[in-house]
Symmetry: C2
Subunit: 315 residues, 2 copies
């Protein structure tokens, strides 16, 4: 099968064997999405050799349970062992023996086929088109915020960052009815938000100590500093991005102001699919370009451009 | 009146005028306790000139409402303005115009008398002796943890640090029935915990990624590092101490492991008094020495010794 292969920091589209695992479902990929993590892998931020890609919508071609065959699905990217302490405690995404689709020890989604354990699969409701379903994984990560932090409609919420993940976070936060403002650096980011009636604010206009909840989705130290300045005493900062290197933090000020800082990563696919089915979140305007899988290397270059939001690949 | 006066980093017991404020209650101090913050003020960590001290139990001598006169009381140390946004939002301890007893713009408790707004006062139940009631303020800070983080009896909880505040935190955490272990550096700290049947653990024996909730009460970077190593993915670190200087933190690891970090400071006096009344917490074995107020300078020196827990002053 055709796949986007990463090896020694070089990307190529090549023919590789169709993955086989008799305990798992074989999924024919219908669409895959290029994510910031794919770009980081290609830059060598994390070591990985193989097929990259973890955002997808596909159709089950083979499965241990034949009831799954033919179903249109998305899938949790963490394949856990089911036996370790984290798994038994109900935290399979933190399983220490886990493999991660297209990220850790498991071939990914920028390919004609992938395999995943059946328990990772979620059926896509008929009314959700492929172009929306392919965003389920990052949308689930956005929805995780609502699982971790109760947000009331009376809350003042600031989102710092409106990139690929930030846009999904913005739409997700908007479903709470909270008083939301988004710091978006680029015009194309602001335009997407404006189309959803989500207010934006200049970083310079963010009032200090004003917001009950601040979500940091830039992954830059300056973004975290803005978040820290904006949160009120006893407020909550949700960190939705990883950071390169370490960050120096005045921990005493967190104690004195009684701030809560929440690290947030993967989330619930079922809630994400519900938001898509109800139309509360529509990620499709984020699609900048769509490439056939054969032009995946060019697609990765496009996805790295600062003015580009989401690039899709079609096997 | 006699009082412990701090000026230009020099401590002295001197005669000062009895404080007067007709809108507030005048409290005759029965006992006051020397706290780590008092030692920090004397070291010059925060600028302050005047009477230090903020842990006390006393008797109301005068009050705008005569019903208070003669009552035995403890008092919230933050006197808030009642009008600013923080006050109106129900966070008076974060009022930007607040004064703080013996810490910020308000004479303190190591004296024969102090004043506080009546709304700051809490009656002490008759069964709670002065020697226990004088711990209400730091105990309230310990109880704040339970207000911020739900702790179940099935949780594994680690406390790092067993100094003055740590001991109160340990007893408070023990009331939850959780599986608690305490890292205590000094033998006298371990002995106090053993007397309450609270298990201790050597820092070297702390298993990584094991604890649902870790409370950091050392205020040292090594204490925070131990807490960070001990907390499980999706667990919570409660920071109960301020830190000198800034701390470098791998924020990405907090995101990847989805850790919550909670800064925690002042707490509810009413819940603290309940714990004392029920005998669930008994701080009295922590009292190392008791001095007359006239020997307060010597008492401060004693309190600074590493083997000393709580030193009380008696006007």
């Amino acid at each position: 099968m055709k796949a986007l292969w990463l090896e020694d920091l070089a990307l190529s589209v090549r023919d590789v064997p169709v993955p086989r695992c008799e305990d798992e479902a074989l999924v024919r990929v219908r669409l895959s999405g290029i994510c910031g993590t794919d770009l980081e892998l290609a830059r060598g931020d994390h070591p990985f050799t193989g097929v990259i890609g973890h955002e997808f919508v596909g159709e089950v071609a083979e499965a241990p349970d034949p009831a799954w065959v033919g179903e249109r699905v998305v899938g949790d990217i963490n394949a856990s062992c089911g036996a370790c302490e984290a798994c038994e405690a109900g935290r399979p995404t933190h399983c220490e023996a886990r493999t991660v689709l297209g990220i850790v020890e498991r071939g990914g989604a920028h390919a004609e086929y992938l395999t995943l354990p059946v328990e990772n699969l979620h059926r896509v409701p008929a009314s959700v088109p492929d172009e929306a379903a392919v965003f389920t994984e990052p949308l689930a990560a956005a929805v995780e915020i609502l699982e971790q932090v109760p947000i009331e409609s009376s809350d003042r919420v600031l989102l710092v960052g409106a990139g690929r993940l930030g846009q999904l976070v913005a739409q997700t936060l908007a479903t709470t009815g909270a008083d939301l403002a988004v710091v978006a650096r680029h015009q194309h980011q602001r335009a997407l938000l404006a189309a959803r009636d989500i207010p934006t604010i200049d970083a310079d206009d963010v009032a200090p100590s004003r917001y009950d909840i601040v979500v940091e989705a830039t992954g830059s130290p300056s973004g975290f500093e803005l978040a820290r300045a904006a949160v009120r005493p006893r407020g909550t900062i949700v960190m939705k991005s990883t950071y390169r290197g370490e960050l120096t933090l005045d921990l005493s000020s967190l104690v004195v102001d009684e701030i809560t800082v929440v690290g947030s990563r993967c989330g619930p696919f079922d809630r994400a699919l519900e938001l898509l089915e109800r139309g509360d979140v529509d990620p499709r305007p984020m699609i900048t370009e769509r490439y056939p899988l054969g032009r995946a290397v060019e697609a990765m270059e496009t996805a790295a451009r600062p003015d580009v939001m989401k690039v899709l690949l079609e096997p």
